[in-house]
Symmetry: C2
Subunit: 321 residues, 2 copies
C-alpha cells in the first residue's frame, strides 16, 4: 500500500499559523477517516485505504473545523470526517466514469480493483458518511450533507449530458460548477457554522476552486496535477477556458472533441492558452476569492478565525500560481 | 417512456386483504417516489423515471408500512419511500456492474444512458433517500438506513471478492446474503417498528428472498425473470444451488466459470437442477419463511397486522413456486 503523501503547502500554512487546537482536530479527522475506512473486513480495506492514502488537501474538513471554531468540538470533527468521506466517494466514482488510471499521482481504485469494486467502494464511503452523522443523532448535518450529495450527483449528470458539446454557455458551465463543486464547499462552512455570509464565502471560494482546477487541466504539467493535460477535453467536458478561448478563436468551436487523441488534446490546450483565456479565468477566480474574503467581515469571527479562513482561501489560489 | 408494469400478485394479494389504510399509503409512497425522482431538472428525470417505471414489488416499503401500522402515518410513508430509493440505487449500480441489459424486462439505466449516467443516477437516488429522512429530522431512520446501505455495499464487495471461486463455503455465501439482502428487509421492518423479534422475522424472510432469487437464476425462464438463465454463473457469482449441487456432483467444482458462455451457463444450470439441489434450497427458504412467521407471534400485532405480514412472507415464496 502506498504511503500517504505529504500534507500539501496551503494546508500546512494554515496549520502552522493556527493556535494548537486546529492541528489536533485535523489529526482527529485523519484518525476517524482511517477508522471509518478500515473497519469493514473484506477487501475494501485496501481499496479505500489507498484512496485515503492518496491524501488530498483536506480542504473541506479544514473549512468545517475553522468555521466551527474551537467550540465546535466533537460535532465538528464528525462533520469534517463525513464531508471528506462524501468527497472521497465522488472521487472514487468519478474515476470509474473517467476511467482515470491516476488520481493525485496514485493509481485509482477503479484502476487497481476494477470498476465493480470501485462502484461499491464509493457507495460504501457515501453510506458511511451518513451513518456516522446519524449515529450521533445529528439530523441537521445529515440534511446539509445529503442535499450537497444530491447536488454533486446532479452536477455529474449535467456534465455527462453536456459532454462533447462545445456550444454550451458560460452560464450553464457555472451552474454545473456550483452543483459539482461550490455546493460542497458551501456545505463545509455551513456544517461548521450556519451563517448566510459564510455560505457566500464558501460558494465563492468553491467556485474559484473549480475554475482553477479547470485551468490546471489545460496548463498541466502532469507531474504536478497527477493527470494528463487535456483530460477534460478527452472526456468531452467543456470548461470555461475553452468557452472563453472560443470567443477569441472561433475555430475552436468546430473541433470534434470525440475524435481527439491525447496528442490532439495537448494541441488544443496550447491553442486555448494562446488566446489568453487562462489568464482571464485565473483573474475571475481571484476576484471570487477576494469577494469571498470580504464576506467574512460580516460573520464576526475572532481575529484568528478570520485570518485562517483567509489563508485557506488564498491557499487555493496559490497552489495554482 | 415505458409504462409502469402492473403491481405483481403477492402485493396485490396483500392490498386486497387489507383494510383501507394500506392501499392509500402505498399510493402515497408511489407518489413520493415520483416526486423524489422527477424533481431534478436535468436528464435524470428520464433515466430514473424509467427505473421507477419498471416497478418492482415494493416489498420493502410494504414491510415498513405494515410494521408501522396505521398509526405509522407520515413518518412511515417517508421511511418507506426512502428505503425504496436506496433499493433502486443499488439496482441501478448493480446493473452497471453486471452490464445487465434488462431489469424486470425493461432496459436498465446503464443500458439506455451509459455507465456514467447510471453511476450518477444511483448516487443521486441514494443521497435523496437520506435527504428525505434528514429534512424531517428523523436521525433514527437515517441511522438505520445508512447502516443498511453500508451492508449492501459490503455485500457487493464481498461478492466481487468471491467472484469465480467455486470453492466458497455455504457460511460465506450466507454471510453475503445477509449483507446484500437480508439486512435491508430487517431494516424495513425496523423502520416500521423497533422490535427484536420483528427484526428476526425480517432477517429470515430477507434471506429466504435471496435464496429463492438464486434458485430462479438457475431455473429461469427468462420471460418470467427478465434476465437470462445462469446470469449469476456468467458473473462469477457462486450461489447456494451450485454449492449444494457440487456436494452431489463434485465435477461441478472443476468448471471454469470464467470460460463460460451463455450456452455453457444454461448447461451448468441443467446440471445443477439434475442434482435436486434446487428443491433443497427451496425447502430451506420455506423453512426460513415459516420460522420468520413464528417470530411474529411474540410481537403483539393485531390480527390484521400479523395476517398481512404473513401474506407478504408467503407472497415471496409463491412468486417462485
Amino acid at each position: 500500500m502506498s504511503k500517504r503523501s505529504a500534507v500539501p503547502p496551503p494546508v500546512t500554512a494554515v496549520l502552522d499559523a493556527s493556535s494548537r487546537w486546529l492541528p489536533a482536530r485535523m489529526g482527529e479527522v485523519e484518525e476517524r477517516l482511517r477508522v471509518e475506512i478500515r473497519d469493514h473486513g473484506e477487501q475494501l480495506g485496501e481499496d479505500a485505504a489507498s484512496t485515503l492514502a492518496a491524501g488530498g488537501k483536506r480542504l473541506r474538513p479544514m473549512l468545517v473545523l475553522l468555521c466551527g471554531g474551537e467550540a465546535g468540538g466533537e460535532s465538528a470533527v464528525r462533520a469534517a470526517t463525513a464531508i471528506e468521506l462524501v468527497h472521497m466517494a465522488t472521487l472514487v466514482h468519478d474515476d470509474v466514469l473517467d476511467q482515470a488510471p491516476l488520481r493525485r499521482g496514485h493509481p485509482t481504485v477503479a484502476a487497481t480493483s476494477g470498476r465493480a469494486r470501485a462502484i461499491a467502494t464509493g457507495d460504501l464511503l457515501l453510506s458511511r458518511a451518513f451513518a456516522l452523522l446519524a449515529r450521533a443523532g445529528d439530523a441537521r448535518s445529515v440534511a446539509l450533507l445529503a442535499e450537497a450529495a444530491v447536488s454533486l450527483a446532479r452536477g455529474e449528470l449535467a456534465q455527462r449530458q453536456d459532454a462533447f458539446d462545445t456550444g454550451i454557455s458560460e452560464a450553464r458551465y457555472l451552474d454545473r460548477c456550483r452543483l459539482k463543486t461550490a455546493t460542497l464547499f458551501e456545505c463545509a462552512v455551513t456544517l461548521g457554522r450556519d451563517d448566510e455570509e459564510l455560505r457566500r464565502f464558501g460558494a465563492r471560494v468553491g467556485l474559484a476552486f473549480q475554475l482553477l482546477d479547470d485551468v490546471l487541466d489545460v496548463t498541466g504539467p502532469p507531474e504536478r496535477t497527477g493527470k494528463a493535460r487535456g483530460t477534460d477535453l478527452l472526456d468531452g467536458t467543456v470548461t470555461l477556458p475553452l468557452i472563453l478561448a472560443a470567443e477569441r478563436d472561433p475555430g475552436l468551436l468546430t473541433i470534434d472533441l470525440q475524435g481527439l487523441d491525447p496528442e490532439g488534446a495537448e494541441q488544443v490546450c496550447e491553442r486555448i492558452a494562446a488566446t489568453g483565456a487562462l489568464e482571464t479565468v485565473r483573474a475571475r477566480a481571484l476576484d471570487l476569492v477576494a469577494e469571498g474574503k470580504r464576506k467574512l467581515a460580516a460573520v464576526g469571527f475572532d481575529g484568528e478565525g478570520r485570518r485562517l479562513l483567509e489563508l485557506v482561501a488564498d491557499g487555493m489560489v496559490q497552489r495554482y500560481s
